[in-house]
């Protein structure tokens, strides 16, 4: 009887621990920041007092304040410098954009010309290692393998296999997916792959050395490969990771489509 009671308490404790682990692990960084702010506020007087006593003893108060002023000036200058650099790059981008703008206008028109079939997402992959969706349209609706799937915001993926009334969609964030793309400010093509490290982002590789990439640059399909039509928005550059070897540098891309909330999609049946 006592053993049963202990076992039950153990299970209850494990359930509580599991719930706490799930909640904490899914907290957003800014929520954790609030907690950090509260803790740092609590410890701030103690820390200030400690610094004050330390300064009194060493007599370095004036020196410290000078260093502080210099630091502020330095950071302001750096900020100004980076702004100027950015302006120069923006001008270059504008130049490049000017050349491709006409092409994009044409693509927009072209995009509305596609014949599409609307569908609902009815299931998602149960595995942590792939990102497959099931949609409620199939061969009966004219769906075939390798047809592109898009959402209101951008590219979703391609049809992997089809049954009469449903289809499997391999999303672009799947680790086995590779999409040929171009950055809106450059003409060279890059490759976008799904990654296990962060299943909500894409890894842009094979970036030509001469291509300049900036945070916020749009990434669109290149049209190479024959599956995805040219000019469909994939996402925006989040960050560029430079490596020792320039050929190995890569960029992290935020997909335009929010896959966690994706419910309705369009299958492009005729390009």
């Amino acid at each position: 009887m006592k053993h049963n009671k202990t076992g039950l308490i153990g299970i209850i404790i494990t359930v509580i621990v599991l719930i706490i682990v799930v909640i904490i692990s899914n907290l957003k960084t800014n929520q954790l920041q609030n907690m950090q702010t509260v803790v740092s506020k609590l410890f701030m007087p103690l820390q200030n007092g400690y610094v004050f006593i330390k300064n009194k003893i060493t007599g370095d108060e004036q020196q410290l304040s000078d260093i502080e002023i210099l630091k502020n000036e330095n950071s302001a200058l750096r900020e100004e410098n980076s702004k100027l650099k950015e302006q120069v790059r923006e001008l270059e981008i504008l130049k490049s954009e000017n050349n491709t703008l006409k092409e994009y206008v044409n693509l927009k028109d072209k995009y509305s010309d596609y014949t599409t079939v609307p569908a609902n997402v009815i299931e998602r992959s149960y595995s942590n290692y792939d990102k497959i969706l099931i949609i409620n349209v199939g061969t009966n609706d004219g769906i075939k393998e390798n047809m592109p799937v898009i959402s209101e915001s951008g590219l979703v993926g391609k049809i992997l296999s089809v049954t009469d009334s449903s289809s499997k969609v391999q999303t672009i964030i799947d680790t086995a997916s590779t999409v040929s793309a171009t950055i809106s400010t450059a003409s060279e093509s890059i490759l976008l792959k799904g990654t296990l490290a962060d299943t909500n982002t894409l890894k842009a590789t094979s970036i030509p050395v001469e291509t300049s990439i900036l945070q916020g640059d749009e990434v669109v399909t290149s049209g190479f490969g024959g599956i995805f039509p040219k000019g469909i928005l994939i996402g925006t550059i989040n960050s560029v990771v430079n490596t020792k070897n320039e050929l190995d540098r890569y960029a992290v891309v935020n997909p335009a489509t929010d896959f966690s909330k994706l419910e309705t999609v369009l299958v492009i049946t005729q390009k």
Binding site: I11, T14, V15, L18, V22, Y129, D130, A176, L196, A197
Partner: protein, 177 residues
């Protein structure tokens, strides 16, 4: 008739697990990582129903999963089937009455299944090898599966011995020997 009921229970169990895995555990995650209830089911079947029934149903359920939502058909079935077969080996060599043993079996089975699946994906789909992210994901999945086994252990044991009694024609004597 009893055997028929036991098989109906196994199928029902798969449907319940499928429902929970696809719906509940798609948002009740540890840092976005879901547990893998199907590995637990395959291990459970192998342990309590033997290699024939355990192996067969694990293979069968794996193929269904592949058809429904897998990247390719067959591999989930094969590896779940292997875990089903391993279940009987575990049963013969270790005690099912120990919670720790069951936890260790769960850890081993989850690692075996996911590593095999990852290797297949690398070879078949030429996915990029990401050792560290894979190990982090696997570790969280193993922890999650362990949590679930700790919570569900009394139920697993009760239902398991019930099925074992019917399908293996065994009496509940393990405690006394």
């Amino acid at each position: 008739m009893k055997k028929f009921r036991a098989i109906a229970i196994i199928i029902l169990l798969f449907l319940i697990i499928y429902f929970f895995q696809i719906n509940f555990f798609s948002w009740f995650t540890i840092r976005g990582i879901m547990p893998n209830l199907f590995v637990l089911l395959a291990l459970f079947l192998g342990l309590f129903t033997g290699k024939k029934i355990g192996g067969f149903f694990s293979l069968f359920f794996g193929i269904i999963l592949d058809i429904l939502i897998g990247r390719s058909i067959g591999f989930t079935g094969i590896f779940l089937g292997i875990i089903g077969l391993l279940g009987e080996y575990f049963d013969k060599n270790f005690s099912k009455d120990s919670r720790v043993t069951i936890i260790l079996m769960t850890v081993g089975s989850t690692i075996l299944f996911e590593v095999c699946m990852y290797i297949v994906n690398i070879i078949k789909f030429k996915i990029e090898i990401e050792i560290l992210p894979f190990l982090i994901t696997l570790s969280l999945e193993v922890i999650y599966n362990t949590f679930l086994v700790i919570i569900l252990y009394p139920g697993i044991k009760k239902l398991g011995y019930y099925l074992e009694n019917i399908l293996k024609n065994k009496k509940l004597l393990t405690r006394y020997f």
